[in-house]
Structures are given as structure tokens and as C-alpha cells.
Symmetry: D2
């Protein structure tokens, strides 16, 4: 069965800015979904900020294997309820790819527990991405480096936790570097941050970028069944159900059958 | 100069529960602070939920090198504003030790971006902590293992991100295991989670536990100066200040001197 | 195409010890290969110490996606040349699963750069493995814990580098714990250490253990093409081939076209 | 007590090459030791390849808290016995800093279990190091970035295991990037790799480089007592000494009191 993938797009600058609309006439989300759908192992649809529940009702998330997230101008308009719902979907096993300016998306900051800040410059300068984890599944089929002739610069220090693996590091013409591909796991869900993708450039039309996204969808897809029920619960294990026979001892705070404090 | 340390205690069960009050007549926070103050390299004071701003006004946090956090019954009563303030202090370089039931404290969940859940049983069973990172500074002076004759059980899976290092793993009499000592970094701040410390047992009077806490305060103390100003800002680097000479090219979204979107 | 898998067995105790021969009449390697071959996605064959080049000539390794390694009594009899060949195959992208007493195999110590030591006891005690990385692909389909009624005990501290992820932690009846499932990457190759498997017990006939091995073969399989040529080479990049135009400056040690020092 | 530090230098090019001798008239090792000794917390001496046992007899290593290693032309002349001795000192708790071309030193490859290869170019180009782990102790007191006007280029992919933390990433004028500061732990010993230091340039006279080295010595110093005895031993725990009472069951391979197989 193909990997059920949803590309979430903020869909703001595509509607307001003629340059962006020219580069991505069907919206960035649709351009990305089209690229993913070239791979028969992936079945990608889209969701946008403007739809009810931002296009991400609980039932849809339950049937989503991997979610991609692109946002920039309207991070604050994303409802906290949807953010929490997406976080719980990740914890229960859904994969998540966060793209470019999504570093400041509520969902990314929520999952990182860190500022996720950086330095930036919009000057159409050359970016060159280097693979730092040789033959990582996300880099499969890529050369050791590839270039984007025009991109926005993001510079270190990038305020994120140390990743499980650093897959790409970018070189910028103006003298900065940036850890451009970072893997994380949160609960049962795989998370990948990928840097490129400023909306005024044709980045998502680039073949290498498209290959990274296809690879990353496959990498983020967790083959284990999703965690069912409340993914945040902390169940009590009664003494009589202990795996090894023990006798209750000492003073107690909790009563039998009590829910834990939270 | 001694490491300026603040022990934050919820101070609820000490006031309400005779068993807890008996074990910790001056409160758990004071017992921990007293233990830390045995070490001349540490200068520990206390703060509690009941004080204005929970005893953690901005000025105090600015002068705190390491904060310890113990909470259980009143996680929800901690103000979100103070939680965010503590998170920003961590990101700017303050160390943080989270103790026992603090796994569900708002500040820990905030920094982990994960459910932080587990299984539990209050039966006064034996816990044995094993050192899994040999000679880690937090384990300095400890034997390969030590026991707490009565403790609450916490069992895996523990819903936290993979740590930088796993320092301790616990064995429980009833058949469970738990990763009991985990190190993280968030922004410029070091974070250590340490499992033992149920309030009805004399855990914080145990010499090995006290040694872990002293070691952990030293480990968490970041010798670099705190990040000044807004630790979450993402500054623009103007083209004319680029470290290498570049010329602006291509279409632009932002205007010169504009603040970034967030 | 199925994952081309080779199960390497030392094949010593199966020949010398009646208990082991009784539990694994066709050898441990064959028992493991038979279990793997139940999965249509895997195509497993075997190799043993006694074959020429230990059954691992270069041509066979080049066609192997994942290698499993079980050894105990004869680590020293494995030729250094074959060990280095296997190491280079891993660095170029072959997956490697190291089983039980293989913690002291030359190839594991070679890849870890660490003592890989532990404590042990052969008393047929109960082992309970707990999943510590929820829904990790290697734990797909497993319950949160499973038991082996009789196993050899391995205890911490386990002298290995901090893994990318800790997937399992074991509880032992005699009071020890052990990090039983650990993931690593070396060069382009994924490495997984899995603890159970003492030769006098029917561990590799256990359904949960077999499931872990099948999952781990899939996890270790690197979809990217193997690195071709010398995987240890450090190529010079001549000035005139630099990606950005630079001029040679300053004093030089090396002559044009010179090989690097190693 | 000051941190007892030994700077090991190959001391070959300083004797053979006039340029290197001009930049480091007392040898690179002495230049580095002099810089470290400016810090009252450090007490640095030197050792060289040409001394008996390369200046690193067992007794000296036992009294060394942190060892720095610079080699380039004569990696092959370092005796395997000394390499193994240094590895065991690291595993028992000695810190190790590996500098520049030491990426191909026997001791670094021994501890990494990986090829440790890279690309390179000697063109006196500009290197700019960016701090990627904000306020890491090794970066204490440094700005977010600093430059070396002339350095040898090292490019990714760097064939090393994923580090505990990436502290620095370098930008090179010719278009490459490199993870320039990487932390590891092997056994009880902290290991730091630091990229800059080509012998024809005055890198070790640079104030920022000197600050990194001083910080790194303090970071690598393990406050816990060194592991005594054979750091690779795997002791048997007899049934009668088990921490929890167990009875021996099932078939056995080993006899009571037997040494383990290795």
C-alpha cells in the first residue's frame, strides 16, 4: 500500500504575492504533492490553512502516514487545538517533515521544546547542500553535494536540540553554514527538518530537492501500527498484576485504582 | 564562586500529608537544598509554588545557575507565564534538574516536546540503579549500582526523546526497568532528568541520591555567559553586512530592515 | 527484490557440545536463517568459521545486504583480514546485526572502538526485554515487553559508545539490567546489537526474538547503492576544480596531484 | 589541582620543512603546550614520536588527565602497542583531543571504528568556524563565528560516527563545509575532534583556536577517578553473589569460576 501523505501548505503568499503565484501557480502544497506523486510508493494529497480545521480533522490525521508542513506568514493563525492534535498524531506514529520557514511553525517549536531560531538573509544567493551522513536513506541517490542557485540564507546557530543525525549541512555564498537536514524522533513518530524552500524561488521544482522529499517520506513512515487510545496516558500497574510477585510495603499516597496525578 | 542553585518544590504534600511531613519536616525542597549545601561548590536556596511568581521572578532566574524542580500534585497550578520564563532561562544557559514526578511538570513537557508518560506502581518495592555511562560526571564517586529499598516504580516505555546520554537504568522488584538518568541540552541549557524521589520515602536522605544531585548540579552548570536579550530572536543579516561580498539577486518577499515572520 | 541476508555462525559449540547440538541440530546459523526465510522480504543463507575465508569472500560480501554475526568460543580464530573486509563492507553500506556473545567478536570491537565488556552469569534465569523506543521499526509488532524464561545474564555497565537509539532494555531475575538493543551507524552501514541468544537455550526458536531479527534485517538494509571503490580514500580536490573560484595562497606542503598522507 | 595535560606532537615537518620550522620554531606541540599553560587551571607538557615509547609510557598516561594528539606524516610509525595503551587510557577515563590531520591517526581510527576520511585541498583559503551548539563549554567565550584567513580545506562527507554533539561547522572559501568540532565518549573517556591546524599556517597562534583548546581540555577532563585494573574485563557474577536470590536452572556451558570466552 502506498504511503498516505498529506502536504500542508499555508497558502498565503501564493494568493497575495504575484512572484510566488508565478512560481507556484497551483500553490506550493500542490507542487510538492505533485512531485511526491511521481513516486508510486507515495500517495500525496494536500491540506491548507483556509480549510475547516486547517484540513486536518482527527479522522484524516488517523489515516495519514506522513505529514509535510510548510508555513511562513501565518504561523500565529494556526489553531492551538490543531497543533496539539498533530503533535499527538506524531507521538502515536505519524511521520512529520517540516520545511524551511516551518522552523518557526507552532508544531515544530512544540515538538522541539527549543527556540528554533536562526539568522537569515533574502538575497538570492547560492546554497550548496553537502551530505554529512553518507548514504543515509534520506540522501539515497543524491551526489555528495548539490546546489540551489538562488535561495534565502539561514545561518547558525540554529536553536534546535541535537538531532539523532545530521544529514545535510549547507554552504552559503555570503559566508554562513546551516545544518539543513536533521532527524528526530518524538514518541513513535519520525521527524525531519529540511531547510530549503523559500517561496520566491523555484526550489520545489528542483529534482534533487524532490528526491530528498520522496526519500524523507519513506524514511519517516513508521511501519509499526499507530499507538491506539490516549498516547499521553500513564497507566497504573496494580500490585497484584506485577510481572514478578511482590508484596506492597511502606507508606502510601495513592489509593487502589486511583488515576495518577498530572 | 559557588554555583547558584535554586531548589523549587511544589510543597503541597508536605503540608497536607502526615507521612510526607514526617519524612521531610522542612519540606522536600529544603531537604534537597540542605544536602546540596554540604558541598562548598554549591550555594542552594529554595522556591515554592505558594510564593509570588512561584518564587521565580525574572531577576532571580537571571541569577540562577542551576534550577531543580520537584512537583507532583499541582502541576496544573504552575502558571504558564512562569513556565515560559523558566524555559527561556534554560535556553539562555541555566541548568535544569527535573526530579521524579516532575516528568509530568509543565516545564519538562515543554522542553521535551513529547508526552513524558510512563507506567507506575506505589508498592514500596526495591529499586536498583545501574550506571550505564561509565564514569559519567553525574556518576562520579558512585559504585556501579546502588539500591533504594523502597521506591515507587516507574516503567518503560518512557515517552521522552532519545537523550544525549543514558546515565542510569533502574531495575524494579516487580519486573520493570526504567531509564532513570537522562541528559539533554535545550538551547544553551543542560537538562538532567533523575527518576527517584517519591515523597513518602526517605529517598532524598540517601547518600547516593544526594551525591547524584551534587554531581548533576556541577554537570548542568554552563560555564559560558548566559545569552543576553531575547533568546528566541532570529536576526536578519543585511546584504551589505554579509561576511563574504555578495550582490542581491532575484525576486524578494521582504523589504530592507524588515523583521522576520514568526 | 528480497533483502540478501547472510547469517554467520561460529559453529563450534554445535559440534562439540551435546546440549547445544540438541537445541540447534542444524546449527544456530541455520536455525536463524530458517526463521528469517519465513519472511518473503528476506532471503537468508549461512556462512561459518570453518569455510574458506570463513564463508565471506569479497564477492559474497559485495552481494550481501545484511550480515548477522554469532560467535562465542572462537573469536580469536577469525582472521583479521576477513574482519577488515567485513568492516569495509559495513562502511560501504552493508547492514550488520551482532548477536549476544558477539559483543566480544573482533568485528564488533573494531566498529565500536570501545571495550564492549559487561558482567555475566549463566544460571538460566528469567530475562524480560522492555521496548524503550516506542514503535521503533525494530520493535514493530511486539508488545511493550516480552520474556525469555531462561537466559544468560549480561549486566551493565556495557562498554559500548552511546547508541543512536536504545531500543530494548532487559530486566534480569538476579537483579541486573542491560541495554539489549542498540542501534549504530558506521560509515554508510547500519549496525544493531541484540543481546539474547545463549547457545544452551532455545532463544532463537522464540517467536518474539525471531520477529526482532526480521525487523532488524529490514531496518539495517540501506536502500542507497553501496559506496564503490576504496571506502577509506581521502581525495584531493585541486584548486582549479574548486566549486567556488579561489586562488591558491600561502605556503604549501603538498605538491600538485600528490596523494594525501595517511 | 591543575589538569595534567600532555600535548603529543609528531614533530616531523618541524624538523624537515623550513616553512613549518619558521612558523613553529619550538615545534607545534610546544606552541600548543605554551598556549594551554597560559591558563592556570591547566598544566601542559609535551611528548613526541621520537622519544622512547613515543613519550607515552604507561606510568605517564596513568598520570595524564587529557592528551592532545597532532600527527600527519608519520601515522604509520606510531607503534600499535602505544596506540592500544592510549586507547585503554581513554577507556579508563583519560580525555583525548585529536587535532586536524590526526583524523587519520591510528588512535582516532581505533576509537571511531570508522574510515575517518574526508576531502582536502591545500590552497591557503579562508575558513570560518560557526558555533552550532550554543554556549557549549568548548565554545565558552567565543563569538558565534570566527575566521582563519588561511587554512587547508577539509570537506564532507567526513567518515566518522554521528557525534554526541556537533559543536562547530566550518565554511570554506572554495565551497565546502565540514563538521569541525565533534564530541564523543569512549568508555569513560571524553574525546573531541577539532579540525583546524595545518602545519604551514599559524593556526595554533590564533587566540580563538587557543581558547577552544583550553576549553576543550577542561571539557574532556573527567572528574571521576580512573577505572583501575583491566578496563576490558568482563567479570563473572557467581549465582551465590547475585543481588537477588536466584537458583541456578537449565543446561550450562561454563563451569563455576571459569573465565568468560573472548
Amino acid at each position: 500500500m502506498a504511503i498516505r501523505t498529506v502536504v500542508w501548505g499555508e497558502n498565503v503568499h501564493e494568493q497575495k504575492n504575484r512572484i510566488v503565484a508565478g512560481v507556484y501557480p497551483k500553490g506550493m502544497h500542490q507542487a510538492i504533492a505533485d512531485a511526491l506523486n511521481q513516486d508510486p510508493a507515495i500517495e500525496a494529497t494536500t491540506a491548507t490553512l483556509q480549510e475547516p480545521e486547517h484540513g486536518l480533522p482527527a479522522a484524516r490525521l488517523a489515516d495519514t502516514d506522513v505529514l509535510l508542513w510548510w508555513g511562513h506568514a501565518a504561523h500565529k493563525e494556526v489553531s492551538d487545538e490543531v497543533v496539539e492534535r498533530v503533535a499527538e498524531a506524531v507521538w502515536s506514529g505519524m511521520g512529520l517533515l517540516v520545511l524551511h520557514s516551518g522552523h518557526f511553525a507552532k508544531i515544530f517549536k512544540r515538538l522541539m521544546g527549543a527556540p528554533c531560531n536562526l539568522t537569515w538573509r533574502e538575497a538570492g544567493e547560492r546554497e550548496r547542500l553537502w551530505v554529512t551522513s553518507r548514504n543515509h536513506p534520506i540522501a539515497a541517490g543524491l551526489p555528495d553535494h548539490f546546489e540551489l542557485e538562488q535561495e534565502e540564507m539561514y545561518g547558525e546557530p540554529f536553536g534546535v536540540p541535537e538531532p539523532l543525525e545530521t544529514v545535510f549541512v549547507s554552504w552559503f555564498q555570503g559566508g554562513e553554514v546551516f545544518r539543513s537536514g536533521l532527524t528526530y524522533k518524538r514518541g513513535a513518530g519520525n521527524v525531519f527538518y529540511f531547510r530549503p524552500g523559500h517561496e520566491t524561488y523555484p526550489t520545489y521544482h528542483d529534482a534533487n530537492v524532490q528526491l530528498v522529499l520522496k526519500n524523507a517520506v519513506k524514511w519517516a513512515h513508521n511501519p509499526a501500527a499507530r499507538v491506539q487510545g490516549d498516547v499521553t496516558r500513564a497507566p497504573n500497574v496494580p500490585v497484584e498484576q506485577a510481572l514478578e510477585s511482590i508484596e506492597e510495603r511502606g507508606p502510601k499516597l495513592h489509593h487502589a485504582g486511583e488515576e495518577g496525578l498530572r
